[in-house]
Symmetry: C2
Subunit: 228 residues, 2 copies
Amino acid sequence: LCTLTDVKKDYRMGEVRVPALRGVSVAIEPGEFTVFAGPSGSGKTTLLNLVGLLDVPTSGSVEMEGQDVLKLSQAELGALRARRIGFIFQSFNLIPVLSAFENVALALRLAGHKGGDRKERVTRALSQVGLGDLMDRRPSQLSGGQQQRVAIARALVKDPALVIADEPTANLDSKTGQAILDIMRQMNEEGGATFLFSTHDDMVMQVARRVVHIHDGVVIEDEHRTQP
Amino acid sequence: LCTLTDVKKDYRMGEVRVPALRGVSVAIEPGEFTVFAGPSGSGKTTLLNLVGLLDVPTSGSVEMEGQDVLKLSQAELGALRARRIGFIFQSFNLIPVLSAFENVALALRLAGHKGGDRKERVTRALSQVGLGDLMDRRPSQLSGGQQQRVAIARALVKDPALVIADEPTANLDSKTGQAILDIMRQMNEEGGATFLFSTHDDMVMQVARRVVHIHDGVVIEDEHRTQP
Ligand SMILES: Nc1ncnc2c1ncn2[C@@H]1O[C@H](COP(=O)(O)OP(=O)(O)OP(=O)(O)O)[C@@H](O)[C@H]1O
Ligand SMILES: Nc1ncnc2c1ncn2[C@@H]1O[C@H](COP(=O)(O)OP(=O)(O)OP(=O)(O)O)[C@@H](O)[C@H]1O
Ligand SMILES: [Mg+2]
Ligand SMILES: [Mg+2]
C-alpha cells in the first residue's frame, strides 16, 4: 500500500537543521493493524504525516499504491487524502465554527460522497463514538475526550482505505478507548481497512499485529506478531 | 486549602442548559496528592477549572484559603492564580509566538518573581522535563509530548502552593511520564505543594494518595489511601 525508502525529514529553523527522521525504510501492506511506538519526540507524528501525504520527505521516496508521491500534483495529492485516507490528528484540528455534525459531514463531502444518506452516515459515525446526543455542539463546548472522538468520527465516516491515528486514545478513559478500538478492529478485519497508529497507550499496543519501534528518527525494531 | 460546597456548574448554549457538575462537595487539604478520575465528559476539567479559579460556580461555594471566591475582585482572583496556582491545561494553551523559554519565563514574571535568577529557574524547569536543548523552539516546532512538557514546566517553575494538572501525561511515553511524576512527588513530599490531577493514566492513579471518582457531574466515591 505504502512504501518508504530511506526517508529523511529535516525541519529547518533559519540556519538550524533538525533531522526528525534520519533514514526510515518501511513497507506497509494493505490490511495491516500497525503501531509506531517510541518516546516523545522520536519522530512518530513526522512519519505519519509523510504516510498520510500531509508532508513530503527531504530525501528518499514515499510511494502510495505504486506512485511516487513527489510526482503527483497538489490536486492529485489532495484528492488522494480526501478520498482514501482518514487522519486523526494528535491535536484534533477540528474546525471551531462548525458543530461536531458539520465537522464530520464536511469530511464526507470532501471525500466525494454523493449519496443521499449523508445525514445517516454522519449520525452513525458520531453515535458509534458515543456522541449521538452532542452532535450540535461546537468543539469549544465539548470535553477534551469528546473533541478527540469527533476527530475520530470524522476520519472513519468516509470508510477510508487507510486510517492514520496519531495517539487517538490519549484523552480517553479505558472504557471509551476500548470501544473505539473495537470499532477500528472491526473495520480492519471485516472491511480490510489499513490502520496505522502512533500511541503511548498499552491497550492499543496489545492489539497491534505489528509494532515498529522508533527512536531518535530511526527504526530500531520491526516486530511482527502472529498472536497480538 | 480549598473547599467546594454543593457546587453546581451549568453551561448554557442558548436555551439549552448543560449541567456539567450537579452538586459536588469536596474539601482539599494542603499537601494532598489527589486524582480526579472518571469517564470522558464526566466533569473533571470543569471541576479543576473551578478549583483553579478559572471559572465560577453556577451555585454553591468555592472557598480558597478561607475566602469565598465569589467575594474576590477580578484583580484579586488574577493575583491568586498567577502567584499561588500552577495550571497544566489539557490542551496546553501555550502562546504560539513565544519560545518555550519565553512561555515559561512569562509565567514566572506574572507570578511576581523579582529575582535575578529568572534565567536559571526557567532553564532548570525546562531541563527537568527533558527540554533543555529545545528551549528556543516555538510550540509549532515541537512534538505533541514536547508541547505538553512546556506546559508542565510553565506551571512548576514558580514553585506554586497548588498545582492543577489536567491529564498531564496524555501525550507522554511511560518513561517520560514517570520522570515527570517523580518531580511532582518530590515537590509534594519535600516542598509541601498540593497536587490535583485529572487523569486516565494508570501510572498516575497508582501514586495518588486519594482518588475522587466522578461520574456524570457528581462524586460517586472518595477513596483515601494510606498506601498508594
Ligand atoms: N462550553 C461548554 N458548553 C456546553 N457544554 C460543555 C462545555 N464545556 C464542557 N461541556 C460539557 O460538560 C461536561 C463535562 O465536561 P468536562 O470537560 O469537565 O469533562 P471531562 O471529565 O474533563 O472529560 P475528558 O476526560 O473528556 O476531558 C461534558 O458533557 C461536556 O460536553
Ligand atoms: N516544525 C518543526 N520544526 C523543528 N523541529 C520540529 C518541528 N516539528 C517537530 N520537530 C522535531 O522533530 C522531532 C520529531 O517530532 P514528532 O512530532 O514526529 O515526534 P513524536 O514522536 O510524534 O513525539 P510525541 O510522542 O511527543 O508526539 C522532535 O524532536 C521535534 O522537536
Ligand atoms: Mg506526536
Ligand atoms: Mg477534560
